[in-house]
Symmetry: C2
Subunit: 510 residues, 2 copies
Amino acid sequence: MPLTKSVPVVFYFATRSYPPIRSNLIRNTVGINPRLGIARKIGKQRKKPQTSSSSNSVEEVETFYYTQRLDHFNYRPDSYATFQQRYMINSKYWAGPKSSAPIFAYLGAEEPVDEDINVVGFLRENAPQFSSLIVYIEHRYYGKSIPFGSLKKAMKNANTRGYFNSAQAIADYAAVLLHVKERLSAHTSPIIVIGGSYGGMLASWFRLKYPHIALGALASSAPILYFNSVAPQAGYYYIVTKDFKEASESCYQTIRKSWSEIDKVSKMPNGLSILSKTFKTCSKLDNSFELKDYLDSIYADAAQYNEPPDYPVSVICEAIDAAAKKTDTLGQIFEGVVVAHHGNKSCYDTNEFNLPTETDIGWRWQSCSEMVMPIGHDRDDTMFPPAPFDMKSFVNECRSLYGVLPRPHWVTTYYGGPDLKLILHRFASNIIFSNGLRDPYSSGGVLEDISDSILAVSTVNGSHCLDILEEQPSDPEWLVKQRKTEIKIIKGWIAEYQADEVALNKQVHQ
Amino acid sequence: MPLTKSVPVVFYFATRSYPPIRSNLIRNTVGINPRLGIARKIGKQRKKPQTSSSSNSVEEVETFYYTQRLDHFNYRPDSYATFQQRYMINSKYWAGPKSSAPIFAYLGAEEPVDEDINVVGFLRENAPQFSSLIVYIEHRYYGKSIPFGSLKKAMKNANTRGYFNSAQAIADYAAVLLHVKERLSAHTSPIIVIGGSYGGMLASWFRLKYPHIALGALASSAPILYFNSVAPQAGYYYIVTKDFKEASESCYQTIRKSWSEIDKVSKMPNGLSILSKTFKTCSKLDNSFELKDYLDSIYADAAQYNEPPDYPVSVICEAIDAAAKKTDTLGQIFEGVVVAHHGNKSCYDTNEFNLPTETDIGWRWQSCSEMVMPIGHDRDDTMFPPAPFDMKSFVNECRSLYGVLPRPHWVTTYYGGPDLKLILHRFASNIIFSNGLRDPYSSGGVLEDISDSILAVSTVNGSHCLDILEEQPSDPEWLVKQRKTEIKIIKGWIAEYQADEVALNKQVHQ
């Protein structure tokens, strides 16, 4: 689940992320070829802020490579193999090794880390007031941090893919951060880890597993409860639906009835030609599912990245509603597609969410091995046709794709999940779970405070990972406030840590 | 590091454990063939309590096997291989699935778990008052929980040995415990994990890594600070020395000067024959080191397992001192050897600490891969000749034995270590670190409270793992009190947990 969306070809759909299972589910239901774990990117650039004061269009970072162990949890000779892991440092604001100024560490997720640097502003925007060092670390098997020579080689067989998982990734982060501290003699600098989406899960898990390395974590839009059915399977699409319904009841009704309209037309003689023409598809539709899946992706994407100032859900709904007077249901739906793309295109590519990017390739494997989020449409009260998550066919598909079985219980076994409040109320500390409640993934997020220092910072109108993205002059007050709250909390952690240090030193010297 | 010592052939030296590196160090210094990671057992039975009321001589347990994953942290096809992991259940005292009564889980260490059941009394002695279920789980690669068919096969090459490590072992425990809860419908039962020595480290690490599975941990004599030089390398032998010095200054002086006496005699013509005769060795000594290493082992062992009511250190010192009038220094030392064995034997086997038991084989590998405790004699104020730990030769020896490099930094990277108080003061909860301060391993233990619920429970006169061993009618008051304190703390955790549960349920239903 990458963080953002952006400009070039398709404006709203860049660095976007899907519920990895969703489309697959529909396909299962509709009975077409299976597809798994999609986390696609169409275009890379997020719209740049016009006059943002603190951010640079290109951040001044130095790139380094760390010789990383392939397998932290095994002592087979091949576990000792290494790969070069990329990390980047911005020391522009840092007060230096003796200052004990903090380190902000961005934990990369399922994309090349340099892409994130372009859109994530939280670290560089706040580094000056903390005089902090910034470290961005790339996740193994993405970007330039790929073992076995190339992504193709690394992914080609089960033996080389096996090392590609979250426990290894956070152990990598532990090793890199200790190395950075050592190299820069920054032993007394507390580390705050920051991540978004899957990277947000990693940040919270990192604080839980490596509290001796990270003092605290900002986990933005981290759906850590979307595993092993801790959160309801239908939560994601329930929120997509809610977003549209709140934007416009008539828009919601139009979408809700459009699916059967599509089915009806598709069953007519030349039905697929008619649909292809209505939706100006770049190539003729092979079946009605292809179109439904495309529309589903557009709606989910708009809801997930329903960012100010434009709010794609509103933009789509306004177009759908406005077209009511001049066209029929499917004509209205098409107007939504047009504005989702920011205007007329010569044709619309129903495969635009299925381009096999590195992220797509990597995340599909991760979803099929351990990041099993059972997301389905199984409520009557969504605007989508029912399509419950089917674990059995998911497992079969993964096995046929990768030859190994998914482990849907492993995330909760290793990281926890059920009874989170009961368990963490008196254990752990210093985690911010930030969410925007309009983000469908917030349905798997931590939305209430767990203790005095494990805090939920939610915004009613926020979308996916909005708080850690670059500040924009147009940012609404609630977003500015959310970020300020987060910074205040982090400042509190650091102050408390430093006070503890002083108190302990006094004890030792007494 | 097994827990106890016992009867048959050699009374004081059963299920004993060495500082894994110690002898090796001396050998390095003396320049003889290297030997690594010894955790040997001579005989298995601890002296049985005569009239202990609550313990059974054979505990009523049922044995089960869990189909355990070979590698929790990898998705290679061979990671999916499984082995049968043994665990045992005593449900005699359990109040049943609906009671929410706790589960006491003993985390096995580097020995077959059924051996521990014979000597560890803490769980069954306290189960009645908690109405708790007892689970004993065997550590992978020991006892009947060995992958690849047999220990010989499992240990024969680097590929099959690689899965033998602590992170995998505690992940095993997580899986077994979730399985047991599921199988017995014990979802609401909090788990307290208990272990001693290496098993005590595992217990504390388990609570840190899997707080969602274990509510608390009793870590008896767990030297978690003896890694990566967090604790001083000489700590172990400093305490051995202190134990002897406190027992008798003249005994300490006699031992202290005996090493050069041995060297002196060994350099005489027929010196080794003389030494062999003086010490009644079963076969002629090959060199003086062999004898010195044997004596070193006897002293370390006596200190580590310096249990009431006999207190082997005192027994040895009394014999050494008493012989002063009738013999010379080496004659005195020999009298110590005799009483250490509880009386005259026809001959003394200087290899008795080097028998290749399963524990020895397993722990040598563990010490050479990740459990690298840099224990040396490098202080002038010990009664041993200086022999600092030499990491370089240690690494070389491990490489030549196993073909892979030790990872001396991994334990502290994964589990932490430095600045423990600063880090855990506001993170984590519910761990008891119990120690006996006469146990040389207490030099790597946690000896002061870290927070209100991470507590050190030490006794001035205690030895290794004494608190969790079976109660004896002769147990001194301080030991009885230590156990009571531990039980009181554990009761507090459970009461608090249950109160939290009630409070949370109220919140949910409000």
